[in-house]
């Protein structure tokens, strides 16, 4: 196992399988009355979130607490960061306080990697810029494997703003690694030009893709980025790419609908579609805790290797 979790790109197929298998044991711990095990007692995990996040931060916090680690939440507002302290100085401060692992979310791609050069703690990437969000990708893989029994050969469409989506990148890399068949779907302006080298297909017509799917994965329309005008209007997007009841009818009966949250009901997904039994969005959230427990356990449960 690696010392850090920076990207799905770094992981081998064997790593992914080991993480998903370990998460399965933690998934069962989450169904007990006492949801806590003493595995990481006395360790300190810092949630270092310099970009807004509720679900990922809470998920990491719960994961660490269920492993009996101590958790410190550190966010940009109301901290030394808002007083102008640099990322490096803040990281060194966290290190001096004895952090064993730092979970970082940052608006700049590559900041988790940068952090590994400054501190000895294990670094977990909780989303960096438009680069990657590996724990989200892993929990999505876990959910697909749990519901459909395999990853190899699964036909998955990732629909929406792929260009700005670190979720789409992590998930695509992971799915391709595990032998799934991935199609990116969206308006041409939102499909990254380098997509073909990811080993995925590209389509601009969702209706043509839906009938051949095992999973339809919808990305959030990031309305905060729409000042850049990648498409004319949110209403037009919903008309061409939103998953409506009519479009669900085009999908095979047992295909899954997934979304990383938070959802814009009525934009990328219709409200009644989000509440269908085949929409496993809440399972994704529950599985996220197990995946993060598995990663913290696999990283902190081993001795740290001597560098060099």
């Amino acid at each position: 196992m690696h010392e850090h979790v920076l990207s799905m790109h770094d992981l081998t197929a064997d790593d992914v399988t080991r993480i998903l298998d370990t998460a399965e044991s933690f998934r069962k711990v989450g169904t007990r009355v006492i949801k806590k095990v003493p595995a990481l007692r006395g360790r300190t995990v810092v949630n270092f979130f310099l970009e807004n996040s509720t679900r990922t931060r809470i998920s990491f916090e719960l994961a660490a607490k269920r492993l009996s680690a101590d958790v410190i939440n550190f966010s940009a507002s109301g901290s030394s960061v808002s007083k102008g302290e640099s990322l490096k100085d803040t990281a060194l401060t966290l290190q001096a306080m004895g952090a064993d692992a730092i979970v970082i979310r940052h608006s700049s791609s590559g900041s988790p990697l940068q952090l590994t050069r400054w501190v000895d703690a294990h670094i977990l990437n909780a989303g960096d810029g438009t680069h990657e969000h590996p724990t989200q990708g892993l929990l999505d893989l876990y959910t697909m494997r749990e519901k459909l029994g395999r990853l190899e050969g699964l036909r998955v469409a990732i629909v929406g703003d792929v260009l700005h989506s670190r979720v789409a990148r992590s998930l695509s890399f992971g799915l391709v690694k595990m032998g799934a068949d991935v199609t990116l779907v969206g308006p041409p302006t939102l499909i990254p030009p380098d997509a073909p080298v990811w080993g995925v297909h590209v389509s601009y017509d969702i209706d043509a893709v839906l009938p051949k799917l095992d999973v339809c994965y919808l990305l959030r329309v990031q309305t905060e980025r729409q000042r850049l005008e990648f498409f004319p209007s949110v209403r037009e997007y919903a008309r061409f790419f939103g998953l409506t009841r009519r479009r669900v009818e085009l999908m095979p009966q047992d295909a899954l609908i997934m979304h990383p949250g938070p959802m814009n009901r009525g934009v990328e997904i219709d409200s009644d579609v989000a509440d269908l039994p085949s929409a496993v969005i809440e399972d994704q959230v529950t599985n996220g805790i197990a995946i993060r427990m598995a990663l913290l356990y696999l990283l902190l449960g081993a001795t740290k290797e001597d560098p060099g």
């Binding site: 370990t22 044991s25 069962k28 007990r32 806590k36 595995a39 356990y297 902190l300 081993a302 290797e305």
Partner: protein
């Protein structure tokens, strides 16, 4: 103390007889099987627990619930090895509260596994009693723990390697001591 043994210390028949005796002892000690459950410690302990349940069914004609317990998250050496210890499955499809739990393991050595197992078990409920059955007790305890039911006491040195083989996993039953001498 007798000299440490080397080589094969239990043949398949010895294992079978030891398990039959332990099954009798459990029935005698616990006066039947009312509220008695067997919980094997993964791996190998769970196979031994199933064997004991079969023996008890044969002797007493009674079904006894069997579970398997993984103690990985309760170990006291997490973070002290190069790799995080591998996780196995815990499957205890019954409530342990109020029962007499007989923990089953292959080898009793330092006692640390049993300490972890007791912690893991009490997170699942509050057993009325916890007892311990092992196929081999090799000595060298590091904690104040003892077994209630022992297949065979095998004197060993710290450097020895005690291997319990189970037909389900290894193709044949047996216990081998491999000395470092």
């Amino acid at each position: 103390m007798s000299a440490p043994l080397n080589g094969k210390v239990m043949e398949p028949d010895d294992v079978r007889r030891a398990l039959t005796r332990i099954a009798h002892e459990i029935l005698e000690r616990d006066k039947g099987v009312t509220d008695v459950v067997l919980v094997g410690i993964a791996d190998r302990g769970d196979d031994l627990a199933r064997r004991l349940a079969e023996e008890i069914r044969r002797i007493e004609g009674a079904e006894i619930p069997v579970g398997v317990l993984d103690i990985t998250f309760y170990r006291d050496d997490i973070g002290m090895r190069a790799e995080a210890p591998e996780v196995h499955e815990t499957r205890i499809p019954f409530d342990v509260s109020g029962t007499t739990v007989v923990l089953v393991d292959d080898v009793l050595y330092t006692g640390r596994t049993i300490r972890a197992a007791m912690d893991a078990l009490t997170d699942l409920g509050r057993p009325r009693k916890i007892q311990l059955a092992v196929l081999v007790d090799r000595g060298h305890r590091e904690l104040p723990i003892r077994a209630d039911f022992v297949g065979k006491n095998v004197p060993t040195s710290h450097a020895d390697d005690v291997r319990v083989m189970i037909a389900e996993i290894d193709g044949q039953d047996g216990v081998v001591v491999e000395g470092a001498r």
